[in-house]
């Protein structure tokens, strides 16, 4: 560990202490963030497609809503699975503590699920596209804080200085844009035509570029701000335990998709776009997992 406070003169070594707690928020929380990104991201993309390519996206209202419902429920299921007392989940609604991002997030996610079911009702049962299109902007508006609240939760973790609200908020939004566009290309791309696919791939490439830039900025400049950040980033540098996973994530989620999208421009290849989309979705999981794990490795006491 690079704890720059340690001096050769003091040569201080912990010789007796209790074992440190293992990972507090495990891979279940990674799935939580990953599934939430897709669940909110596809709603962002549906709104965009209905505005820019209404005739191509005409039949996407119900299927996209179903995808959002499935992934938001994966997010909720894994959130529940991560609780040590899952049958007390109802306490969040009956004993709410509104300074907690967990409470606010749970309430917003519940409202979001309700609105998604309303969209499904309007598109599948009532077949009322006009009402669907009126409700959709509200769902998009709510999807933004729903995807952001995990950033708030991470920022409430005092002394895990790697997680700062401004950066994490941006990363959550980029993750939603990246995974939403990737999922739409992958599942509905063949129905959308080249122009719509190109728009989606632009979003994918730009969000990948911005997210990659943020990670690299943290990587280079983070250690200059706080000793905790410097110590945490050592876990993804050199022979750190998460170095390989970090760089695999960066390549698979961001660099390779950007390259594939650039290549697809020349050939107008939807196959390359689909490959970029698969890589982005897989890589995002790795990236999120590394960023969730490394601050938890730091001894707090």
């Amino acid at each position: 560990m690079a704890a720059h406070e340690i001096l050769a003169a003091t040569n201080a070594v912990v010789t007796l202490d209790v074992a440190l707690p293992g990972t507090v928020w495990p891979w279940l929380v990674t799935v939580n963030m990953w599934a939430k990104s897709i669940g909110t991201g596809v709603i962002f993309m549906l709104m965009l497609l209905l505005k820019k390519y209404p005739e191509k996206a005409e039949n996407l209202r119900f299927p996209t809503t179903v995808v959002a419902i499935i992934f938001i429920h994966i997010f909720l299921l894994f959130t529940l699975a991560d609780l040590h007392q899952p049958f007390r989940m109802w306490h969040i609604f009956f004993y709410p503590h509104l300074t907690s991002a967990i409470t606010v997030g749970a309430w917003m996610a519940t409202a979001f699920v309700g609105l998604l079911f309303l969209l499904a009702f309007l598109s599948f049962v009532k077949k009322d596209n006009a009402s669907f299109d009126k409700v959709l902007p509200w769902v998009v508006a709510l999807a933004i804080p729903v995807t952001l609240y995990t950033a708030g939760l991470m920022s409430q973790c005092t002394a895990r200085e790697l997680w700062q609200m401004p950066t994490e908020s941006a990363q959550m939004i980029f993750a939603a844009l990246l995974s939403g566009s990737a999922f739409m290309i992958l599942v509905f791309g063949s129905k959308l035509g080249w122009e719509a696919n190109r728009s989606l791939s632009n979003i994918l490439a730009l969000s990948a570029f911005m997210a990659f830039t943020l990670y690299m900025s943290e990587y280079v400049f983070g250690p200059m701000k706080a000793e905790e950040v410097a110590a945490v980033l050592e876990y993804i540098k050199g022979d750190g335990p998460y170095t390989v996973m970090f760089w695999l994530g960066q390549w698979i989620a961001y660099l390779l998709p950007m390259l594939l999208i650039a290549l697809s421009r020349a050939s107008k290849s939807e196959s390359l776009l689909k490959l970029a989309a698969i890589l982005a979705l897989v890589g995002l999981f790795l990236v999120k997992h590394v960023w969730l794990m490394i601050p938890q490795l730091l001894p707090m006491s």
Binding site: D82, Y95, I102, Q156, T158, P299, M300
Partner: protein, 212 residues
């Protein structure tokens, strides 16, 4: 009333009496600790010394654990203690992540968060916390910080300039003080923590709450 704790590290001899008293008083399960004494060895042989630092919940005025708890299981009581209601806790472990001092754990028996409460149940009966009673050298000083005549207030007055808290830069305003501490005692990043090396065992990490 604002209860607080002060540990005079000049006096502490690392006997771990406080640790054991706490375990017994609060029936703290195996593999978890509300209070523990950390040993840090400083220097290079033969110029070495061993430091002892009791570590427990800091009962912060601006407690991150209280703020992040979604169901108010962690809450302040009138005497300033940050208490926990285990019946209400949902086990999200947000408090474990939010505490900058690593003072909160998931009880493997109840699967809820737990931590030092300054023995709130004993304090309510006008008794001192178990660790204070057990300390053979009176290194633990406990009392009302709002009362200038209390032992803790007098100690702080007498040692002005030498009273420290852990991680003051986090803005948590701990109500747990140290006299005679140094960077190696109070800053976890100021000492090496070599994996697989401690005096009595090679266990470096334990699963949170007994699973995951």
């Amino acid at each position: 009333m604002q209860l607080g704790f002060l540990v005079d590290l000049h006096l502490c001899m690392g006997c771990k009496g406080c640790e054991i008293a706490c375990k017994v008083e609060n029936e703290v399960p195996l593999s978890t600790w509300r209070l523990r004494v950390k040993y840090v060895d400083v220097g290079t042989f033969p110029e070495t010394k061993r430091t002892f630092t009791p570590l427990r919940c800091n009962h912060c005025e601006n407690a991150p654990c209280e703020r992040i708890c979604p169901v108010s299981a962690l809450h302040y009581i009138e005497n300033g203690i940050v208490n926990i209601d285990k019946e209400r806790c949902i086990g999200c472990a947000g408090c474990v992540m939010a505490c900058p001092y690593g003072a909160i754990y998931i009880d493997p028996q109840t699967q809820t968060a737990d931590k030092c409460t300054y023995c709130a149940h004993r304090v309510a009966s006008s008794m001192m916390p178990a660790c204070v009673v057990a300390c053979p050298v009176q290194a633990n000083i406990f009392g009302d910080l709002d009362d200038p005549k209390s032992n803790i207030s007098k100690y702080i007055m007498d040692n002005q300039g030498g009273v420290q808290v852990r991680k003051p830069e986090k803005g948590t305003n701990p109500h747990h003080y140290y006299v005679g501490g140094g960077n190696v005692n109070l800053n976890p990043l100021a000492s090496h923590r070599v994996d697989g090396y401690s005096l009595f065992n090679k266990i470096t990490t334990l699963p949170v709450g007994g699973h995951h």
